[in-house]
């Protein structure tokens, strides 16, 4: 009896020491084989997803008409972003409300592709309206505007929110990426 008890003690100890195998060698081999197979399927899904994404964008937003508006934030000491509204040629094309997680992602250096659309060649106007909390936690809203020329290649515009240290105010700009 004492020896069988001791054997159990050993079993418990193995668990305690993290050495006990929950499943046998055969189960482990099955797990590995299936894991390899699933990795391969996942890889196929990633490749297919990429091809679908490429097809979708090329079909819906061909380069000759594509316009993409990105948003970046630098520092964010004087402005906490709440919403951004985009107007292209006086027509609202996007209004985005930011979650804390998204605002944080921007502060970490992420750049959000806020809008993707189509525009014909020629002159256009982009207006961006930002709302949020400004210096001292006050409600704050500002706008930025840019007239730009859309050529036959894709057009990328960047809304930049940065801190103007000298004036202790946020600054809102639109950059045309040629």
């Amino acid at each position: 009896m004492k020896s069988s008890m001791r054997a159990f003690c050993l079993g418990v100890a193995l668990h305690v020491l993290g050495l006990a195998a929950a499943s046998g060698v055969a189960a482990e081999a099955d797990t590995r084989a299936l894991d390899e197979q699933i990795q391969s399927i996942k890889q196929d899904v990633v490749a297919l997803n990429r091809d679908l994404f490429v097809l979708e964008e090329e079909l819906l937003f061909p380069a000759n008409t594509q316009v993409a508006v990105f948003l970046s934030m630098d520092v964010g000491e004087f402005f906490a972003l709440d919403t951004v509204e985009l107007r292209l040629d006086d027509k609202q094309v996007s209004k985005y409300l930011y979650t804390p997680r998204e605002a944080e992602a921007l502060l970490k250096g992420g750049v959000q592709r806020l809008y993707l659309g189509n525009l014909r060649t020629g002159e256009h106007e982009l207006v961006a309206l930002f709302t949020g909390k400004g210096p001292n936690g006050q409600d704050y809203s500002r706008g930025a505007q840019l007239k730009f020329e859309k050529a036959v290649s894709a057009k990328y515009l960047e809304l930049r929110i940065s801190d103007q240290q000298r004036k202790a105010q946020p600054e809102f700009q639109i950059k045309d990426w040629e």
Partner: protein, 619 residues
Amino acid sequence: MRTAPWLLLAVCGLLASCAGKVKPETLPKTRVADLHYGDVLFQNFIGEDFEALTRLEAYQHWSLMPHHAAESQLLTGGMYLQLGMHNEAARRFESVLDSNVPAGIRNRAWFYLGKVWYARGYDDRAVDALSKINGALPSEMEPEKVQLLSNALMHLERYDDAARVLRDWRGDDAWTAYARFNLGVAMLRSNRIAEGAQLLDAVGQMRAADDELLALRDRANLALGYAWLQNQQPAQARSALERVRLDGAQSNRALLGLGWADVELNDYEAALTPWLTLHDRNLLDAAVQEAHLAVPYAFAKLGANDQAAQYYEQALTSFDQETARIDESIARIRQGSLLKNLLGDPQDEAPQRGWFWQLEELPDSPESRYLYPIFAGNDFQEGLKNYRDLGYLSSTLERWDENMIVYNDMIDARERAYAERTPRTDALLGSEAVSKLERRRKRLEDDFNAAVTSDDIAAFGTAEQRDQWRRIEKIESAIAANPNDPALAEAKDKLRLVRGALLWDLKQAQNERVYAKRRELKELDRALQEANSRWLRVQQARAIAPTTTGNFAQRIATLQQRLTALRASLAQAATDQQQLLSDIAINELQAQKQRIADYEVQARFALASIYDHAGEPSR
């Protein structure tokens, strides 16, 4: 295919994706030179790993990130790693190392590669990769590197090297404690009891304030206690086991061990104290089941055979009930309840996926307690993550399948539009409509200038006035042809009066009408200019616009075939994974059932022995 207790901590080292607990203002800022690279980071930072990977691959396909070539390869590898795709991750990291990249990026590539090899069980390669890191890593990666390296060395039984790595490293208390615990356990495994015990003793007596370290301290004391028990040093075992908290997760095992330490010291009465405490606890726990045998065993040793028999009877009843419950659990798992209980329903709405997802809360089902050891096991966790990922990927492909139908309709509509509009556009552009209008406008201007120059006063009159003027001129010609006809004298006077009146009217309105004509000409100019500009735009658009939908239809057809095939593969893999996980769980339950059956045999044997002795005539 293994996990480590520090894995959750280590997650934060990868791509800063778990930085939610850190204040953004203190986070390292990534300087983005390509907007699309920034977009990938954004998706990654908000936890949309699969979307981030898709965009990264697509942007690489379009060459949209020329300034972040090496970093994007590193990021791709990191995201494959996050999604549990170690093989592809390793390939990406190796490709970074093949290129000429700065030391910082090279070091990170070696780090991730080491992590991949470690996860796949290639400890020698992991040690090799991690040893090639030259200089300091980013601060959040350094502790993880040390852990990976020391663990890999331990698996290779290079304990002295592992100890050296840990000794030379100055990390925070939690990391150090985990490292010492791992090393201590590894030493015990290799029968280096004294060294292992020293390490575990240090962890077992450390000052701990938070739950995590208190739990680790309990585990160290428990491991140490059982190690001493195995080495037949019950007094030392006792002092280690007594340090385990009574309300902690290791309490049951510690109480069982304490009783055994007392038995080894031949103090059966003392052994009853922890065992009776344990006896009243939940029978689902293996240590409690063991106590149901240990208590009557101690009573029997103390000569209290009636109590011993009573407890053995009680144990047999409990074991029967437990066996029935395990059978019920096995039946439920066979009906597919396991994954539903673990993951909830539907699985694809879970917010997080990937390699670092952990099952944090056990479901409130009877089998949870039985299966705790396998739930915590790496193979099961990996399988569970795979199953979740497969569900998510399947739902993603389902959405694409629906989109493909829409895109096919769109292609058809575009084909029809091209067929209808292209000939109309070509016919319009071939008609020279604007040039014709410009020529007509030129003629109008010439006529206007001629009228002004020649002072053709009637030209600016109304249609009626111009008609009247023509008639007067006609009559005047007729009179001029017969100047001496007396019958026309009166008519000549009347005509002069009418001509004068008409001329007066025309003169009165002339300036206004000339001005109005000029204005109309200007308006015509403006309209013509607009028409001209539109004409040019149509010409440009016609020059660049596709006249067909290109190969989109064919691409969609090919992708739809791939979608169908992959969705079938995903479904089959999910079924296989579910089956494998159920098999693992059922095997575990059957092992537990077998253990209870073994206990039952022991209990019956002991009971029979007691009754046997009771039946013997006293000597």
